[in-house]
């Protein structure tokens, strides 16, 4: 365990170095959040009753999304991992007494966490003080707050476990770009990163909600805003746990299979 912990530490500390990127990120995320909210505001002004969420719930959703972007951004990959596979540098990683799946998993967790630590607090702090209904409201109860945190954790693990599948695909294809672009666009749409999933048409939504993508950011944010309540919350968290385990097992198997017939490229 210690080896993974110290690997986490070195990556996490390294991630904290990039202060300027964090300030730029905070600024961008504010701008993006406001633009999204203003767009929805225009729709809400014309007919607010035809939307599934109240505008204040939507504001909380959007600001959480911006604050926790680093945890759930679908397009973020460690390019070095792809390079390791395509260039053959993985030879060194395989010469270590470690499990490469766990090493990469820890690495992604560390980098994303180091980013979110720098960015989330300033955004959340400012958004609490924004005038209603544009600001973020506090969770409806302490129980909801607890379930939200739990659900963020599972959603985050699903995100990283899904990332791992894309990395592993690089073993099977010569260039991982195609799969990567496809996966990013699908995840963006199906996870509610573009528009919250409750806005999608009913029939389609019911199917999408069962997919792992919906368990990433959609579930925790809907728990926070009080859109999901009671047994619905528990069911969704159970679904998240199923996906965490499912994607993890799938990733481990694919990795094992890939390494069995791995061809380390180059000299």
């Amino acid at each position: 365990m210690k080896k993974y912990a110290s690997f986490f530490r070195i990556r996490f500390i390294n991630g904290l170095q990039y202060r300027a990127a964090a300030y730029a990120g905070i600024f961008t995320q504010f701008a993006w959040g406001f633009m999204t909210l203003l767009m929805f505001w225009a729709f809400y002004k014309s007919e607010s009753s035809s939307f599934p969420m109240s505008f204040s719930q939507l504001s909380s959703y959007i600001w959480l999304q911006q604050a926790l972007l680093a945890l759930f951004m679908a397009w973020f990959f460690e390019n070095e991992i792809f390079e390791t596979i395509t260039s053959g540098n993985i030879a060194y990683e395989l010469c270590r007494p470690t499990d490469t799946y766990y090493m990469w998993f820890v690495r992604n967790v560390a980098v994303r966490l180091s980013k979110v630590v720098l960015r989330s607090m300033p955004i959340l702090l400012v958004c609490v003080f924004l005038p209603s209904p544009f600001g973020i409201t506090l969770p409806i109860s302490s129980k909801a707050a607890f379930l939200f945190i739990l659900s963020v954790l599972f959603g985050f693990l699903i995100m990283v476990a899904f990332n791992m599948l894309i990395y592993i695909s690089a073993f099977y294809t010569i260039s991982p770009m195609g799969i990567r672009i496809l996966a990013v666009s699908l995840t963006e749409l199906l996870s509610g990163a573009i528009i919250p999933l409750p806005f999608l048409p009913d029939g389609l939504r019911k199917v999408i909600e069962l997919l792992p993508f919906a368990s990433m950011q959609n579930t925790p944010f809907l728990i926070y805003t009080g859109f999901l309540t009671g047994t619905e919350v528990i069911n969704k968290i159970i679904l998240q746990i199923i996906w965490v385990i499912g994607l993890f097992v799938l990733g481990k198997c694919l990795m094992k299979n890939a390494l069995k017939k791995v061809v380390v490229q180059g000299g």
Partner: protein
């Protein structure tokens, strides 16, 4: 102890001719070539030995190293290292080996070298005392005290390679694989690396397997060489014996002002430029002094030198001999 027996490995390589049309057809039907990277490779290396593993590019050197590291599994044959099959018992196996791939890097690019070392300490679960001892020793022997706190990205190739070698020895491995450790290094770094490897083998009794294209490495370091070509082991033996085999060949380089070159029996022209010629002498046919006399008879010689076959030339003639 390393024992390889009848190891075979085939790679599937896709191929197509150049051109747009060919590229389109390749989308529908792909042709593959099967290349035998390793064909019945067997050898045995005892503890504490230092072995040079040589062969031209693409001969199968790296594949063999990868198999011995447990990264690659062969289709058939057996490989037992210290009583373990590397690719089956990978995690236990890699604790006892150190690897340096000269063309790759194991140091973290953006952190000081010492951070990479400490990470390796945790990964290999090296005892703090052992780590401190190894660290001190390696840092002094490889002269890297000054650069250890610099991020790897700011090091020169020679500095980085010395750090790479230190990194692969922190966990005191019993076997060290060096895959082209001196590639691209300047003369000073090469000599530093060589003398370190020599010391390591002598004092720590670490088994060293060295692949290289630099014959000076081989000459300076190893007694035994294994030659591989097209996936087959062609020669496994003593470097000295090989040298004796080529003892009968000398080369005379002659510079002359005027005259024409006359070649008697036992002499052959290697290459000639205006006023300069290199002549190979077969000493079984003609002695060196007779050869010089014969050459200088019709030439106004300004300079002349005689040299025996270098390791480099021996390898070239070995490659020619085995058609690889």
């Amino acid at each position: 102890m390393i024992e390889l027996q009848a190891i075979c490995k085939t790679f599937k390589v896709s191929k197509r001719n150049a051109g747009f049309k060919e590229a389109l057809t390749a989308m529908l039907t792909k042709e593959y070539d099967y290349i035998k990277a390793l064909d019945n490779v067997s050898f045995k290396i005892n503890d504490g030995e230092m072995v040079g593993y040589i062969g031209p590019n693409g001969a199968g050197k790296s594949s063999t190293i990868k198999i011995m590291c447990g990264i690659l599994s062969p289709e058939s044959g057996s490989c037992v290292i210290n009583g373990r099959v590397p690719w089956k018992d990978r995690i236990k196996h890699v604790n006892e080996i150190g690897v340096v791939f000269g063309q790759r890097s194991q140091l973290w690019w953006d952190v000081p070298v010492v951070d990479s070392f400490e990470l390796l300490r945790d990964i290999y679960k090296i005892d703090e005392k052992v780590y401190k001892g190894n660290f001190e020793k390696l840092v002094t022997l490889l002269h890297i005290e000054e650069i250890i706190r610099t991020p790897a990205r700011q090091l020169s190739l020679g500095q980085r390679m010395r750090c790479e070698i230190a990194a692969s020895l922190l966990h005191s491995p019993r076997i060290l694989f060096l895959d082209e450790p001196t590639i691209g290094l300047d003369a000073v770094s090469k000599i530093a690396v060589r003398s370190f490897i020599e010391k390591l083998n002598k004092e720590e009794k670490t088994t060293v397997i060295l692949t290289t294209h630099d014959m000076q490495d081989i000459e300076a370091l190893t007694k035994r060489i294994i030659l591989i070509g097209k996936g087959k082991i062609l020669l496994d033996g003593d470097l000295e014996a090989l040298k004796r085999r080529y003892k009968g060949q000398k080369k005379i380089t002659v510079e002359y002002a005027s005259g024409s070159l006359y070649l008697s029996d036992g002499l052959s022209l290697v290459n000639s430029l205006q006023g300069r010629a290199v002549i190979a002498v077969d000493t079984n046919v003609i002695s060196v002094s007779d050869a010089i006399a014969a050459i200088s008879k019709n030439l106004e010689v300004t300079d002349i030198s005689v040299a025996g076959a270098t390791a480099e030339e021996m390898v070239v003639s070995l490659y020619e001999e085995y058609h690889i």
